[in-house]
Subunit: 152 residues, 2 copies
């Protein structure tokens, strides 16, 4: 079962296999196109008609907007890390695009904890975040290396 | 020397080692905080004073905004791929944060080309994109797997 904790989480509180489920976010067409105009102005993110003739087969959100929405859901979600969500890096893939009107939700799982003895005040937690749409289809898998602080 | 081509590039036009240099983008404090409010509402991205006591030591852009700006620079930049920039996935790391007022520029390098015989109409190009600030410090390294079409 997902562990929806409310108190801030320290390195000491995390264990491999632990899961967290976020809230949801519905992406409006305006919001999709607004992000695209600012950061990813390509026809398949801006123009419904032009998008049909592309690999996407219709209007699709920028993958970077899917990533940004995922971050929003993580920040506002259950796994409130003490000190915040600080990513050193990530691997990301988009098996299918996010569409206008999609409602996204993120399930996170702790897959690895690296707590070096030399730096007992912080460690690195590898978290796999699967972002799904309302049909439970995965639109993004993002595996992040997070800097997490110890309670001491 | 970076190769700033103007004609759309097909798989046939790319070779390992080829480089492209983008234009520049200066991130205002308003734009930094606007992105954070929408997608990454954490104190170190929103509040100059609160940010000083964090790992960032001062106001820092969301890493996902650095990624989004990098995408903008790629889309508007020199390596105009035929069919657009379509990413299947990426590895990303942020060696240091982007700050308000920073001017970013991206240098891209083709590091691998995978052109399967079974699908002669398209291939995957692995492109390493280094995003630097005005002091030439690297704020992001993003290695993307791009779907690129053949001319035929």
């Amino acid at each position: 079962m997902p562990d929806n904790a409310l108190a801030p989480l320290y390195l000491d509180d995390l264990s491999v296999g632990q899961r967290f489920l976020s809230g949801t976010f519905t992406l409006s067409e305006d919001c999709l196109k607004g992000f695209a105009r600012a950061y990813d102005p390509q026809p398949f993110h801006l123009d419904d008609i032009a998008a049909r003739a592309t690999l996407f087969g219709g209007l699709a959100a920028s993958g970077w907007q899917t990533a940004a929405i995922t971050m929003k859901l993580l920040v506002e979600g259950a796994s409130q890390l003490a000190g915040g969500i600080i990513g050193a890096g990530a691997e990301i893939r988009w098996p299918r695009p996010t569409r206008a009107g999609d409602t996204l939700q993120v399930e996170s799982e702790v897959v690895r904890i690296i707590a070096p003895r030399a730096r007992p005040r912080q460690g690195v937690v590898v978290m796999r975040n699967r972002t799904r749409n309302q049909d439970r289809e995965i639109v993004q898998v993002m595996t992040a290396r997070l800097i997490v602080f110890s309670r001491s």
